[in-house]
Symmetry: C2
Subunit: 238 residues, 2 copies
């Protein structure tokens, strides 16, 4: 099993052009809810996106993820109903000041996006003891989130928008998709080609919440020690 | 607050060259434990990495993360001691077949990497009710993991290696860094320039576990329905 033909290889920094492409994916990635076109995602492109997800880091090389593709209108409709019930509950949790704005926001593209993708985490995949997960049982969930973010950035580069829907009771989607109890639902994504995206996060643009100052979030050597060396955030215009 | 000057903008797919750069970051990113050079990370470069992290998606635009930079040898030594105690406990959890191999693996670069970075999640930041977190309280942790993965990919493009250490009791590192109870430790990262990285995940190369077949992980319309349209993973050589 020990592969002696594999080895350390050179790992230089990318050229400035290539580096800027990576940053551009990061800075222009958006949570898309309404800009989806109806064109299907070609199998070859979906395969690239899922390969990107599959190359995420995973604790103990556990690779705990599965990917359930959903294209059938009937299945999407059931998931949308689950979202809609939960979203009605969510509305009532907000105070007067936010409720009207909350109601005005479109928070999912389940039926509009040609492809939905449920990304799950099999909590049992690595056996009883998993290297690196001995002291933090969340690590497998975190690995799965890394897969989501890989896919999201790859999708941006492919001209494909992704929106993460988190407003539903897990039990409802578990039942609709027949997901067993030992498998956690980590992300339910709406995926489709886009021609336009917002130039800022949609919740910022629509007045829900502002971007925090990066410098306020950085401490040195311990919690609460303000940084002296890091200024405002780097230029993100690309 | 509603910014009318901001709007939808064009969001075409990247050029093939730029797209390939994004995939190259994804496919050649490694969890680095021992290849760190001693050269410090310049403030300007660290600022780019943290800006990339800060532009991760976050539930309800909550931005729940903080970043604690650690460069002092004394602080690193305390964290390494916390790792070492936990790693001794971890060794004893593995059966005979894996214990010797486990012991032979280097699982952290805390003292070797010039920079350590603790990325946390303030569970209270968005107030009592957070948009999108009403039905899954883990969503703020997941947002923070997206920040970790953004930083990790940006670091690859900068020629910087990152290793995620997860083997410690959270209470130990919380005490060392003075992190308050309402703030969760999501990731403790070792960061430094690298000249070489493994051409495969280190745990794969060292015989711990093999990469799973992507096609086996994909289902259609529901759990357990094998895919008919997606073949083996896309070519990842770059």
């Amino acid at each position: 099993m020990h592969d002696e033909t594999s080895a350390l290889v050179a790992a230089a920094a990318f050229s400035e052009i290539d580096r800027d492409a990576v940053y551009r994916a990061i800075f222009t990635r958006r949570d898309v809810r309404d800009q989806f076109l109806s064109a299907p995602i070609e199998d070859e492109v979906l395969q690239r996106l899922l390969t990107a997800a599959h190359h995420a880091p995973s604790v103990g090389f556990m690779q705990p993820w599965n990917f359930i593709t959903i294209r059938q209108a009937g299945v999407k409709e059931q998931v949308w109903q689950a979202f809609s019930r939960a979203n009605n509950e969510a509305q009532d949790m907000f105070g007067k000041d936010k409720k009207a704005l909350y109601r005005s926001l479109k928070l999912e593209g389940i039926r509009k996006a040609p492809l939905n993708l449920c990304i799950t985490c099999d909590r049992t995949r690595g056996g009883k003891v998993v290297l690196g997960r001995t002291h933090d049982l969340n690590m497998d969930l975190y690995s799965t989130v890394c897969a989501v973010q890989n896919l999201w950035l790859a999708a941006r580069a492919e001209g494909i928008g992704v929106g993460w829907v988190s407003i539903f009771h897990e039990a409802d989607v578990r039942q609709i998709l027949g997901i067993p109890e030992h498998v956690a639902i980590v992300a339910y994504l709406c995926i489709g080609y886009v021609e336009q995206i917002y130039d800022q996060p949609e919740l910022q643009k629509k007045g829900w919440r502002k971007r925090l100052e990066l410098a306020d979030l950085i401490y040195e050597e311990g919690w609460g020690n303000d940084t002296k060396t890091i200024g405002p955030e780097a230029e993100t215009a690309t």
